[in-house]
């Protein structure tokens, strides 16, 4: 697995799309601990303070139906890892968010570039609040992190590898 890890990047999603356009191989990952222009669906901003895990994965060429299912399965994968490895009661807010104690801990955004009815480039971005210690007043009741829940620092590289491995497993199971 090729991973380019940045301390700070404007948007892992834009970096990954650029990498894919230049021929980056499937399962290449652009990751960062801080994004200056992280974004969610549409024009919405994804609050990306330092210490969390933000990454985007170049996906292999897949059917659009499979990619839709994969977005949901990605939420499932993250929730599964949070429960099994960290003991958190993670719930999925379909199709693309994971919440813990009613607060968002992870968001997923899949983007496809489609030409002649086929996805030529597909990139999945995942923002996981791992090591945030506090949030501003407007987000305090809406967002949480693994560290805020467990009072323990998380190894971002370790959890990243686990999620990407799980994603690859899930995609191969639906494309068989």
């Amino acid at each position: 697995m090729f991973v380019k890890f940045f301390k700070v990047v404007s948007s892992t999603q834009e970096e990954a799309k650029d990498l894919a356009r230049k021929g980056g191989k499937p399962w290449s990952v652009i990751a960062a601990e801080k994004q200056s222009q992280g974004r969610g669906k549409g024009k919405s901003h994804w609050h990306s303070p330092e210490g969390n895990l933000y990454f985007s994965v170049v996906l292999p060429a897949s059917k659009l139906d499979d990619l839709q299912i994969l977005t949901i399965l990605a939420s499932f994968s993250v929730a599964k890892i949070l429960k099994e490895d960290y003991g958190l009661e993670a719930m999925i807010k379909l199709p693309n968010d994971v919440v813990v104690n009613g607060k968002k801990i992870c968001g997923i955004l899949t983007e496809n570039i489609i030409m002649s009815g086929q996805a030529k480039i597909s990139v999945m971005g995942i923002g996981l609040n791992t090591n945030s210690e506090d949030y501003t007043a407007d987000l305090k009741d809406k967002a949480t992190s693994i560290k805020m829940e467990l009072k323990e620092k998380v190894d971002n590289k370790k959890i990243l590898a686990k999620i990407v491995e799980e994603l690859a497993k899930q995609l191969s199971s639906i494309t068989k």
Partner: protein
């Protein structure tokens, strides 16, 4: 469109010559099976180096696709969803790969690009409109 096709004799040597107009912007001249390209520019013709243009990646690709690629078919929604952005307008000339419409489905953003070079006749959708799979989004001339 072939403008000229004939044999010419220069110093006792015969040359097969063919001249073709490429969409009014370029001229292809074939001499004994080898192609030479020229760009029309205010009454002048400027030689175009194919390798240089190809090496100029995106820009060169756009120029060449404009000349050689098929016109795009009408743009259809590849899946059901909501139109979030329209990146082109009626009357605009677009090139292969140019982003035209974004459709969001199940929180997945789908940037739908032109399959060829052509001129947009009509945009058949608008932002926040729900579309079904195979609905026409853009009609080309």
């Amino acid at each position: 469109m072939i403008m000229l096709k004939k044999k010419i004799k220069i110093n006792e040597k015969i040359f097969d010559l063919e001249m073709e107009d490429l969409k009014g912007k370029f001229i292809r001249i074939e001499i004994n099976g080898k192609d030479y390209f020229f760009r029309k520019d205010n009454g002048n013709v400027i030689p175009v180096d194919q390798r240089q243009l190809l090496a100029a990646e995106q820009e060169a690709e756009s120029v060449f696709s404009e000349v050689f690629c098929e016109a795009p078919k009408n743009l259809r929604a590849p899946l059901a969803g909501m139109v979030s952005n329209i990146w082109a307008k009626a009357g605009e000339k677009v090139v292969k790969g140019q982003k035209l419409v974004t459709v969001i489905a199940m929180k997945m953003e789908n940037e739908i690009s032109a399959s060829g070079t052509g001129k947009i006749k009509e945009i058949k959708c608008q932002p926040n409109q729900a579309v079904n799979k195979d609905d026409i989004l853009v009609i080309f001339e």
